[in-house]
Symmetry: C2
Subunit: 152 residues, 2 copies
Amino acid sequence: MAAGVDVETIRYYEKAGLLPSPARRANGYRDYGGKHLERLAFIRHCRALDLPLAKISRLLELLSQPAAACDDVDRLVESQLERVRIRIRSLRALEKQLSALRSRCAGPQTAAACGILHELVTAAHRESVAHAGEDRAAAAPVTRGGRRKVQA
Amino acid sequence: MAAGVDVETIRYYEKAGLLPSPARRANGYRDYGGKHLERLAFIRHCRALDLPLAKISRLLELLSQPAAACDDVDRLVESQLERVRIRIRSLRALEKQLSALRSRCAGPQTAAACGILHELVTAAHRESVAHAGEDRAAAAPVTRGGRRKVQA
DNA sequence: GTTGACATTGAAGCGGCTACAGGGTTCCAA
DNA sequence: TTGGAACCCTGTAGCCGCTTCAATGTCAAC
Ligand SMILES: [Zn+2]
Ligand SMILES: [Zn+2]
Ligand SMILES: [Zn+2]
Ligand SMILES: [Zn+2]
């Protein structure tokens, strides 16, 4: 029975402590049992939900502690959902920008005449001016904290 | 004038060949000129569009070759747009799954009784059975190609 | 007996930063 | 004057979740 998962990925999980080391055959080959495959399937399903391995690890832990409270599980799903929603919003904004950008050049042109390149350059320029303004505004009240930026 | 960009990031771009090494002052400090800052702003704007550095590199190259054709630029934006749309679709599917999942557990429970954990386990199980089926079906026609999977 | 497809290990690479260690410099206030 | 905060430098390692590679071992088929 094939698990449908790349071998290297499985060994990565093993190293990462998500899967217990399986028994070995006489020749040293790994011998996966039903338990391993169930656990692996669980991990892959959670990964398909884009949960990071650390959180999956926590879920596995709770699976083996039936009496524990499930608050962590619920919060984890909730926060993942929130993450996904935020990501969708930002990707939608991106989509808008990109499709506007695309419409700036119709067909074959030289780089010099390409509306896309042009727009990228001028938008970047606008932003850099805006940033400089922000920084001037922020400079007076706050002298400490924040990461270092570059000087020119 | 601050560029609004983390210093380490800038030096990373320098190492990666996206920004030319700036002139140095007597004390060895980097001295950024207007050209550098424009270029940096361009890079940051493109990164905000989630373009990978390699593609940005290509755009910068074309910026310095005004007579070149802009096909690459147009294709690049198009393919990025496509990428973003695909990502949005898959994230929306994810959102659905996660919000269905969330509704499986209302309030404080033990891990054993948590509908979320339950659903994760059974969904994973269903899928692993399905995968096994796929693999059985695929085993006959194709013997070569494909990456190795795990045996149990 | 030789080929070829499997398995094993450990290490390195991907992208795009981010964080640190271990120094030097600059500036301002007490 | 001195001391400390806040910047700069170089170089290296870490993050995530794999993926790829190199070198070697094992097994079945022809
Ligand atoms: Zn799944
Ligand atoms: Zn164009
Ligand atoms: Zn921008
Ligand atoms: Zn619950």
